[in-house]
Every structure is written in structure tokens, then in C-alpha cells.
Amino acid sequence: MTEDVVRILNGSTFVVCDRRGDIDASPTDPTGLFAYDTRFLSRWVLTVDGERLTALSTDDLQYFEARFFLVPGTGTVYVDAKTTVIRQRAVADGFIEQLTVFNHDVEPVELTVRIEAAADFADLFEVKDALQKKGSHSVAAVAGQLVLSYRRETFHRSTTVASTQPAEVDEHGLTFTVHIEPHGSWSTELTIRAVVLGPGERPLRSTTAAEDVRGEMLENLDRWVARAPRLTCDSDSLVATYRRSLIDLAALRFSPIIAGPHSLPAAGLPWFMTVFGRDSIFTSLQALPFAPELATTTLRVLGDWQGNRVDDFRDEDPGRILHEVRYGELSAFQERPHTPYYGTADATPLYVVLMDEYERWTGDAGLVREYEQELRAALRWIDDYADLLGLGYIAYQRRNEETGLENQCWKDSWDGISYRDGRLPGFPRATCELQGYAYDAKMRGARLAREFWDDPAYADDLERAAADLKTRFNRDFWIEDGQYYALALDADGAQVDALSSNIGHLLWSGIVDVDRAQAVAGHLLGPRLFSGWGVRTLAEGETRYNPIGYHNGTVWPFDNSFIAWGLRRYGFSVEAARIAAGNLEAADFYHGRLPEAFGGYERTLTKYPVEFPTACSPQAWSTGAPLLYLRTMLGLEPHGEHLVVEPALPVGIGRIELLDIPGRWGRVDAFGRGMVEVGTGADGGPPRRPVTPERRA
């Protein structure tokens, strides 16, 4: 079905339509014009002389515009194509559609061109769940415009449709009576605006002048690509993947209401074009060497929205970083908790991690000082609010039992956390990667306190707490007979003993004792976890293992990119290169766009990575994965005012140059050559090689 749908967007406004450009949605069908998490058009159907049209071709010109070449009639053979139609559409605060009808005949023609328009104003959540509306709809023709409205108490949304050519407007659409000379054409520009109205009918946000939008967006995309480091490389496929990632990341940028013109990465296209704490932070981390300004906005917006009170409905605590923000009707009436919703256990420590990593790259000490209180509050949250087991670990359990999230770690499906025998633990749950993030946050927080807040005593406290956490963690989570870390502690503080990819994040955070790193790396590249394309979320042999289980056996590029980074941190550069090579080779099968996840089947079995079906593509943290692989393979690491380059690249990549890498050093270049033999397929354990000393753990 995905191939039959055209999606274009601009920030959180997006259009999903068929290949003709038509929208003909049922209550549960996810097509339409969406903005502010609301469907502002559920019907937008073009007819010529009462007939629907057929697409000859459809071009996605840019992520924000598409062009549809159409002929009247819906037959499979075009017997009479004397009339053709072009719709060119760009998303703005709604969209702008240039509609042109051509007469290819030697005689003049009279045509009736009609656009049917309707809006159900469904909340995105309603589109998923097919809920009934509680407010009332109205339609009016005002000064040649069609105005579609929805009201529920003070909640007011409206869609206006205007045309540059005069139209007969009725409550179901616009009709044009058109006369076209031989070999002539007729054209009109339709402007559709999605408006959120506040008290006194005033728009919540001022709209941009429509005619400027397209030019601005094109210029903006060119600037974005030009500003990023330039990659030249013997591997054409890597160059193509890199370019795809940059453009997709541009599309995923999103300006929340409070950020003005600045943008941060939203989670995924199109249904998750909103602020997600976890996804925005991970993607900003991945993109730091390429587009550090994304991290700036992420840190500002998440910092400003930091939790302030104890609110069970929103799972909010003082110091907690938000999970998700939504602007739809159900959120407005608190039938959903997303204004904002805080139910995530990892975004808060990761916020501190991102700030420190950001400063190490950019040297932006100003932001570290400006957000000192937020960073301190985030660190306090770890100890004061997250220790639900009373064991000194971050654990989660929702307080909003009706509409809150049950699983507040990244593996958030209902069965994503299990014991080896398949049982599911009760709540609270303390998953292992959360403890790694907490350790890293404390260590990095200590550096910030010492270097920027002039508070060495606090820095000492944090380091002591981190050291203590590391000792306890290595005692409580280590499974001696399996030689790996437990996936979680359950409500009784007992080990949830499945072998999972989460242990790779522990390397990234530095919480793994050095003498255990070899065993962890061995598992990650061993036959139970490594498929040949990447590391599975759950190891083969665990009861719930399923190569197409969402969090129980699939391979997630985002997950793998952080695992590879972690392996390098502990000196396993060959192993990191193997994972990078496997994932990047998989990207070739998707034209450079890594999906959210693909099947965990053995590489030698399927020969190609089996895509896991998801609604969102591209997904921000999958888009960011190739960027993080570049960083990891080139061994890019800030040291003081300098960027250290220490390449360990798979042989298939050949010669590589990454030019103009931005940072506190200005712009520098990195060069490398593929020297690491990575092989293919899971051949049972990593190559044996001497372990180089860990860098920062």
C-alpha cells in the first residue's frame, strides 16, 4: 500500500494522498492534510466533467512538494487524452496547489473542473482508533472562499480554501467553468490553510505568506546540504547513503511553537512529526559532527519544557525531560496526556549526556551555563524521583494507568522486556541501559560542574556517586554463568536474564568494567546476537526470540549505531567496523534509507535484509545511524580544542575523505582508507585481537 501513497511535508504539516493527488479518506484511513496533529482535509478530489482522473506519473520533487501528471478518466487505456492536467503541490501552513489544464486539441473546449473538499478534523489518535467526534462541524462560503470549521467548546480549528481564479463555491467544494483555446491552457492556484483559532478567532500562530514558502524551502534545503561536511569516497553506495541521510534529516526538522525559526529533529515521518525527548536526543547525538545546530534547539526546547511539578496524569516530576508533545483535540481536552507527556525514563539522563557531548564538539560553554539549573534538576531527578525500587537504580512504572505508557524505555512494546523463559517482569522495571545512561550523566555532569559551574564539590559528589553506581551495577546485573549483563532488574530486584542488544549501550555509556568488555563484545558479535547485517534486539535462543519480533529479534539501525560507538569506546574498532559495514550494506537495499528495523534473519539465509513493516519512514534515528557510523569508523573524537581522527574502516569503503567537519576547531578534514577485513555473515564470534585501552570509561 505504501507505494500507492504520496507523502509530502513541511515541519509538522503534511499531506498524504493517492498517486492522483486526491484525498478520499475514511475515518480510519490515514490520508489527508494534517497539521497540529489534526486532519484539516479528509476529502480533496479533482474531477473534470464529472470524471475522476488517472495518474500518468507522479514526482516527489522535494520532500515538501510533488507533481502529478493526470488525464481524465479511470480506464486503463487512454483513448482520448486530448486534455491533460498537472497538479503541483507544496506544503506550507496547509498547502498550495497549482492546477493547470491543457487542451491538446485543435478545437476549443468547455470543461467543468471541480474540487470536492471536506474536513473531519480528526485527531491523529482518532485516525488510529476510529473515535467519534464530540464537537460540531460547519461549512461556509465566504467571499469566494470555502471555510470548513470544527468547534468543541473553545476548541476551534478551521480550513480555508481560496482560488486565484473565480470559482462557484458550495458547501462541498469549488467549481470552475473553463474555456480553453486550441493548444491552450488554464490555470489556478489553490491555497489551503490550516488554522488553529484561539479566543476572539485569532490564529494561534501567524501564517507565512504563501508565495514565499516554496522558494524559501528550496533555498533552505540547498543551504542545509551545503553546510554539512562533504564526503568523497571510493564507495558510491556510502556517498549515496550519506546524501540520503542529509536530505531526510532536513525533512525531519521541525520547529515547535516555542522555538521560533529554529528546528530540532522530530521522530519520524509522517505520524511522529513532533517533539520526542528520546528520539530528538539520540538523533541530535548522531548528527553532532554534521549538523550541531539540531542539538542546540533540542537542548533548549527540552530544557524549557522540563517537568516542574508532580502530575500523575502526565507522569511528570520536577526535573524530568518530556517524552512527547501533541496539539490535537484529545490532548487539548486531556483525554490524552500529551501536553506534554513525561513518561520516559531515559530522556532525562540522556539530556545531560547530550549537553556534555555538544559542548565537547562545539565549545558552546554559554549554553552549559545558561541551562545549569535544568541540568542540575535532571541529575536530581535520577536520584530523587527515578529510584522506584529503592535500590539506587533508575526504574519506571507509569502513574497514569489509563493512557500513560507502560514501557518507558526505548524497547516500549508490551513484550519488549522478558526473562529467558519468556515470562514478562512486573513493574517497576529497571532496564540495564538506563543505569548506563545514569552513570554517563553523572560522569559528564561532573565535568560540566567542574569546568563551567565552578562547583568542584558537586563534581566530586557526582563522580563518587557514579563510581558507586558502577560497582553496584557490575555486581547486581552481571550474570556470571552467561558472562553478560541482565536486561533488567524486576520489581523484586531480581535479574531479568535475557541476552539482548541493550548490553551494547552499556559499552557506549562506559559502565562496563574493563575486564568484562571482551565478553560483552563477544556476545554482540557472536552468533546469537549478530545476524551478519547487525545486532539483534534479542538473542537467538531466548524464548521470545522472533526474527520479525518488533523488539524481540529485529535489527534496529539506531541501536546498532550506538553499539558500534560503544565498541570503539572500549577499543573494539574491528567489531565496530563489522557492525557499521553490515548496516551500511543493508542500507543499499533501501536506496540509502535505513528503515526503523529489519528482520533478524541470518544473513546467509535471506541474502537481503527483510524490512519490518512500519508506518513511518524515514525514521529520525535510523536516518542518523549512517552519520554516527561515519563518526565511529573515522574515529572522530574531540580532544580539547582538537578533533582526533583515528580511522578503522572496512576494506569495502576504500579511500574516504570527510571535509569541513564543524566544531570548536572551526572546520577540519578527516581522511582514511578501508583496512579492516570484516567479512560477511555471522561466523561465530569476533576476530581475536589485542584490546586497546579504553579511552574515557
Binding site: 476548541f155 494561534l204 511553537i257 516555542i258 516542574n308 500523575d312 539549573q373
Partner: protein, 124 residues
């Protein structure tokens, strides 16, 4: 007296909000009470807070019915929910509206979402 009055009285007494140390700005609340509009101008100077009944221009102006203000102050609704519901309007800097929520009472139990009545703040 409603929860909103109690809030501003308590805020004036508090005089400082550590979570706003990085901020110097003015936020004005225009509280609609039938035909009347009450103004509360809050000057924030590196976290020091001063409250006056003034309609001077401010960097951010929040306009809402008294009942809506009461709901936000007591935690029955969030400022963002009120805003997208069309029950409140913001003029000027949106970021300040977000940060101004740090002035609200933080006491556990005083803001347990929609289901909990106005505990902590005085009854209306």
C-alpha cells in the same frame, strides 16, 4: 479569593524562583472575570520575582478566564492544554509562557492532573 489570587499572593511572598535564575523578563496575566480584567505583572530578574497589579506592556501576555487560571494554577489542566483548547491566548514570546510555569506551585499532591481537585491552594 480563588486559587489564582492565592497563587499570586504566595508568589509575591516567595520572591525568588531558583529555576528561573537564567531569566530576566516580564510576564503579564490578564485574568478575565466577567466584564472585568485583572492584571498581574510579574517581573523576573535573574530569578527574583516581583508581582504588581499593572497593565504595562510585557514580553509575554497570557490571557484567560479566571476559572481557566484556577485550573492551571491547581494543576487540573496544563497551560499548553488550555492554549490549544482555545481557553487561553498568548501574546509575545511563547518560550516565556513555558518558563512561567516554573512559578506555579510544585508541591506534590497539588497538581495531580485532571482528576484531582484543587488541593493545597485555597478553596474558591
Amino acid at each position: 479569593m480563588t486559587a489564582t489570587d492565592d497563587f499570586f499572593t504566595e508568589l509575591a511572598r516567595r520572591g525568588h524562583e531558583p529555576m528561573l535564575r537564567r531569566l530576566s523578563a516580564t510576564v503579564r496575566w490578564d485574568i478575565l472575570d466577567g466584564e472585568r480584567i485583572e492584571h498581574r505583572l510579574v517581573r523576573i530578574d535573574h530569578g527574583d520575582v516581583r508581582v504588581t497589579e499593572s497593565d504595562e506592556p510585557a514580553d509575554c501576555v497570557i490571557v484567560a478566564e479566571r476559572a481557566v487560571c484556577d485550573d492551571v494554577v491547581t494543576g487540573r489542566t496544563s497551560a499548553l492544554a488550555a492554549l490549544i483548547r482555545g481557553a487561553a491566548a498568548v501574546d509575545g514570546n511563547f518560550e516565556l509562557m513555558v518558563l512561567a510555569q516554573r512559578l506555579l506551585p510544585r508541591t506534590p499532591g497539588a497538581s495531580e492532573g485532571r482528576a484531582v481537585a484543587a488541593a493545597g491552594a485555597g478553596s474558591s
